[in-house]
Symmetry: C2
Subunit: 301 residues, 2 copies
């Protein structure tokens, strides 16, 4: 998995910082998560092959998480896209986009699908043989979801020296990787355990922005490889968290600790702060595996 941060500040775009968007490269998918104003330029700047994006997940309808969506959809049209694109986001997103396409008389030439969300329970949005994406209901000022990306357990790994030793025909490799035993021409049965080893443990990524401190989501994100959790405020402004529906760095770390995640990534910083390193310092008091997001930075896990 490779997570590229296109923008990780709250509120407004500024000359050198962008509001929220990130792209997750996982199991041959490029998933775009949130799409603030400027996202398409950041995709170019970070040399992401953004025509490959087929699924866009919008957490909520505050502008710092989706104002770049209509522009990206339009740019795909101008770039002569033909692949389908699916938008997952709160009810209303379809009306916002289609109203603008209608008024500009610029319908897309490619199939554009919407899956509008209303549930306050976690639900599966996308699934194929490699990955499953589901919602993480979040507590914010308006209806909001995080997103959980889970790799599925892969095929067993073939031990090449072993299959060659038993002179097994390559035609059987596919079924061996699926865990099947093999019967040789002489009738001997070779146990799959002799021919393969366990697949890599599947990885997972949880995106939680925007949200106030809320332990209800802990079960959903328990043990994920990496958790992005918003930390809009430092301790000095902790009193603003509840009313604005945001979290402090310490609160994010507390969720990470209770959910026993592998690694915590902080972001969605209030633009009032100059030094984002302080977010890590405050989180480290609670949890010891903390990274700080910054525009253009990427995380591999």
């Amino acid at each position: 998995m490779k997570l590229t941060i296109l923008g990780c500040y709250s509120a407004t775009p500024r000359t050198f910082t962008n509001p929220t968007s990130q792209v997750l490269d996982i199991s041959n998918h490029l998933f775009l998560i949130d799409c603030a104003e400027g996202t398409q330029v950041e995709l170019r700047r970070n040399k992401v092959r953004f025509s490959k994006i087929e699924h866009i997940f919008i957490s909520h309808l505050h502008g710092d998480h989706y104002f770049g969506l209509i522009g990206l959809i339009s740019t795909f049209r101008l770039l002569k896209r033909d692949k389908p694109l699916t938008i997952y986001g709160p009810k209303g997103i379809k009306e916002i986009i289609t109203l603008q396409l209608k008024l500009s008389n610029s319908w897309t030439d490619y199939p554009l699908y919407f899956k509008e969300l209303t549930s306050t329970e976690s639900e599966v949005l996308f699934e194929d043989d490699k990955v499953v994406v589901s919602t993480i209901p979040l507590q914010h000022r308006i209806y909001c979801n995080g997103f959980l990306f889970r790799e599925k357990l892969g095929e067993r790994k073939l031990l090449i020296n072993k299959v060659e030793e038993f002179k097994i025909d390559k035609a059987y490799y596919k079924s061996i990787k699926k865990g099947k035993d093999i019967k040789l021409d002489n009738g001997t049965i070779i146990s799959n355990k002799l021919l393969t080893e366990d697949p890599s443990p599947p990885k997972s990524y949880a995106y939680c922005s925007d949200t106030r401190y809320d332990e209800e989501k802990i079960n959903l994100i328990k043990g994920v490889t990496a958790l992005y959790h918003e930390s809009t405020f430092l301790e000095s402004h902790k009193h603003l968290c509840h009313i604005t529906g945001h979290s402090s760095a310490e609160e994010a770390a507390l969720i990470a600790k209770k959910a026993e995640v592998g690694f915590l990534i902080l972001g969605h910083y209030s633009t009032r702060y100059d030094n984002i390193e302080k977010f890590r310092e405050e989180a480290l008091k609670i949890f010891d595996r903390v990274g700080i997001a910054d525009d253009g930075k990427f995380f591999e896990f």
Copy 2:
């Protein structure tokens, strides 16, 4: 008048070029003309005091002319604006903006007014004692207006040495500047002509983007100080002009020549071209006072 080009390319934002937006500083107003994605960042980058903007003119509802509007409106709210803001643009612009404000539950705290346009005749949009702004109906693929900004004739200029010579009380200066004669205490009448000189001739700026070649607008823009006229294509792609509703550099120059304008500014270049200097070269074959817009460039006239 000072015209700052925030973006002057067509179609999509790219890493180093922006779609259309410009800001006109005239008679103590900052008028924003079109507002593509990224405009608020370009306002910051160009150090425009954008809280001073009270009027935004949107030519048409293609995204490269207005996708940054909702973001700017939202940023004004976050910056605690209290001054009114008026948006002038095609019918539908109000629904686009208010739908998004409603769904984000983020109504502005400042008064936000819309004047929606439907007329295909020129109409006055704004007027005060210094300036009048009216539409220039344009021929594009969808309903589109250019905008004409005309300074009004200013007050007569006081000849300080003369009014002092006649020992005229300062209380009369205001009426002298308005053109009144003065009666001295001894009964002598001093003609205004002795005390003042003509005001500077009023300046004017016409913004014409997007439009195909169309001579109907020439009467409206006759003799303006500066004309911004779109030139999406070079001669090599002239065959695309009519069907896309755009103009070539030569066509823009021909309009400038027939309208006898003071100065032509070219812009709205197709992103297929690397060297925008060629637009000037082609226009210079027809008209000899040609400037080329570029992002971050400004023109004073």
